[in-house]
């Protein structure tokens, strides 16, 4: 009963207030048009108003489960009004039955109740509309506050992840190593040094303008990965090789910006750098059912490689996947028979179609 409306103290106060006003109004009217004596009139007005206010509580659920009126739809208002009509019908039936059962009432009083029942129902309907509006306001206040809180939490998470992602995208060791290589090349191979500076600036431009929630088409990501691998190739020479096997139909696949970067960095750091033999980094993208499977794999030196815990890079990927797709398990890591592989399964979605679609 967590969202039972009467748990809300403020609402309860308003509701009781409205009930007292209704009772008082009814009392005054009855006092004017009848001569039943004030005790009878008081009991009558209290009971009528009480029964109204009890059955109209049900309207809350109509508002609640039709999602309030947060979206502009007259049907939802209509739903509440029709529901109020049904409730009133039930009320009228209930009163008629009651008057038949209560034989202790004088015949004149019973006749009066029956005659005035329709007028009472009409007045009740006016109250139903009032109560409905009250429910509507409370619904908005209560749920929009919750929604706001949720949104703030999400924003906070996004910001923190963005910051983390930025830190991870710009692996300081990578930049440092690249600058070292450039420094060496300026003396021994100035042409190469110049080329590498350009590549590095391309890479940085791409990496720096992105944020954690942003998506990019696979082909843009591929360009960037190639820049990265080319830069590392200057350091490692023939030792670093790479092959791409991309389903051409998936070049527009939408994926979180730079999500693959830590996978390639790991392949370089744990595969290429730790091995004395040339290592090939293989990247494949294929469709498997409703998913696109992206896989980065490389051989590693089983005799010397030591795996400890998963690095911060992989953790960051999982966090982003959780944030964007609500599932961090879309990344799977495997190391067996001298091959290390990291696979990412993402829902099939074309980046360019997304842009044209009015849904977004």
């Amino acid at each position: 009963m967590k969202d039972f409306i009467l748990n809300d103290k403020r609402f309860l106060a308003y509701y009781l207030g409205l009930w007292l006003i209704a009772t008082a109004g009814l009392f005054l009217v009855l006092d004017k048009v009848t001569d039943w004596g004030w005790q009878v009139i008081l009991v009558d007005s209290l009971c009528s108003a009480l029964s109204f206010f009890v059955i109209f509580l049900a309207l809350w659920y109509v508002v609640r489960f039709s999602g309030g009126y947060s979206e502009k739809s007259p049907e939802k208002l209509l739903t509440s009004l029709i529901a109020a009509l049904f409730l009133l019908g039930a009320w009228v039936y209930f009163c008629l039955t009651l008057t038949c059962l209560c034989t202790s009432f004088t015949q004149g009083y019973v006749d009066f109740i029956r005659k005035s029942l329709w007028i009472r129902a009409l007045v009740g309907y006016v109250f139903a509309i009032l109560i409905n509006l009250m429910f509507y306001n409370f619904y908005l206040i209560r749920y929009s506050r919750e929604a706001l809180e949720r949104e703030n939490q999400l924003k906070d998470l996004v910001q923190r992840t963005e910051l983390q992602a930025l830190k991870n995208q710009l692996n300081p060791h990578f930049i440092y190593n690249s600058l070292n290589s450039i420094s060496s090349l300026t003396l021994t191979a100035p042409d190469k040094a110049r080329e590498m500076v350009i590549r590095l600036s391309d890479f940085l431009r791409y990496a720096l303008k992105q944020d954690a929630m942003q998506m990019a088409p696979l082909e843009k990501e591929l360009e960037n990965i190639e820049s990265y691998l080319q830069i590392e190739k200057v350091r490692f020479g023939e030792k670093l090789g790479y092959t791409f096997e991309i389903d051409p139909g998936l070049r527009g696949q939408s994926l979180p910006v730079m999500i693959l970067q830590p996978l390639f960095e790991n392949a370089v750091k744990h595969g290429v750098q730790k091995s004395a033999e040339p290592v090939n980094i293989h990247f494949s993208v294929e469709q498997a059912g409703g998913d696109v499977k992206l896989r980065v794999s490389n051989a590693y030196d089983a005799q010397f490689a030591r795996f400890r815990s998963e690095g911060i890079g992989l953790e960051n990927i999982r966090n982003r996947l959780r944030l964007i797709f609500g599932n961090g398990n879309l990344l799977t890591i495997r190391a067996e028979q001298g091959v290390f592989s990291a696979s990412l399964s993402l829902p099939v979605k074309n980046y360019y179609e997304k842009l044209q679609s009015p849904d977004y």
């Binding site: 060791h173 070292n180 060496s184 003396l187 021994t188 490692f236 091995s275 004395a276 030196d301």
Partner: protein, 252 residues
């Protein structure tokens, strides 16, 4: 003028090229070879016996420190370390006269280091002692050994840290026992006490270090002495103070 043989052991081509370029101005130094990883470097040192090496620390297969540990003592050359990250340059160099170059290497800094090395070599000082001291102090900030590399015949053997059951001091060597095998490494037990993660290893005796989760049971042996029986049946002596630290660690 005396001439000396030098090697470059460094895994990155641009850095190698740069060192070669800088070396050209030193006629007394003959570059006898360049190697891309610690294992190749080790073989070359034992074969070519250079007087001077330029050694990168982070390298494939075995790193610069691990490589030096495996070089025969009489073949130990004078070493100029090159490293990109200053955390490696920490302790190993702090109290020693050894030289290291931080990448990117500047021509002026390189010249100074090589001239100093040449002076030492001319004076017949190979600085072997300093080097051994440095090797015993190797420690990356907050990182413990995750493997031990040793020579086995012509090749090298790698023991993963988690495979080690216990270590025993034996004169100049330390015997490293895994579940079913034993290895000897020329080191002190103190070195391993300092460099193995104390979360897993405890010094239980003047001559023993034991891996905590390798212990099956501990029984009294004599007054103030105990015996730890390991999961592979091996028995390890535990002293009174060793028993105290075991009690503390295993909370019994």
């Amino acid at each position: 003028m005396k001439s000396y043989k030098a090697l470059i052991i460094e895994d990155e081509q641009p850095a190698r090229d740069l060192l070669k370029e800088f070396l050209k101005e030193f006629e007394q130094i003959e570059l006898a070879g360049e190697y891309g990883d610690g294992f190749e470097g080790l073989k070359a040192i034992n074969r070519l016996k250079p007087e001077l090496i330029f050694l990168d620390i982070q390298m494939p297969r075995i790193d610069g420190f691990e490589m030096l540990e495996l070089v025969d003592e009489e073949n130990l050359p004078l070493v100029i370390f090159t490293t990109a990250y200053d955390q490696y340059a920490l302790k190993a160099f702090e109290y020693n006269a050894l030289d290291y170059l931080l990448k990117p290497v500047m021509a002026g800094r390189f010249r100074v280091a090589v001239q100093k090395a040449l002076q030492s070599l001319d004076a017949g000082n190979g600085k072997r002692e300093e080097l051994s001291k440095a090797l015993n102090n190797r420690m990356e900030e907050g990182a413990f050994l995750d493997r031990i590399v040793l020579r086995s015949g012509e090749g090298i053997q790698v023991i993963a840290e988690e495979d080690i059951y216990c270590l025993e001091a034996q004169d100049d060597y330390v015997l490293i026992a895994t579940c079913g095998e034993e290895f000897l490494k020329k080191k002190t037990l103190k070195y391993f006490e300092d460099h193995l993660d104390p979360a897993f290893f405890v010094r239980v005796h003047r001559s023993y270090i034991v891996r905590l989760d390798a212990i099956q049971k501990i029984e009294p042996y004599s007054k103030d002495a105990y015996l730890a029986i390991l999961k592979n049946g091996r028995k390890v002596a535990v002293s009174k103070s060793g028993y105290g630290s075991l009690r503390e660690r295993l909370s019994f």
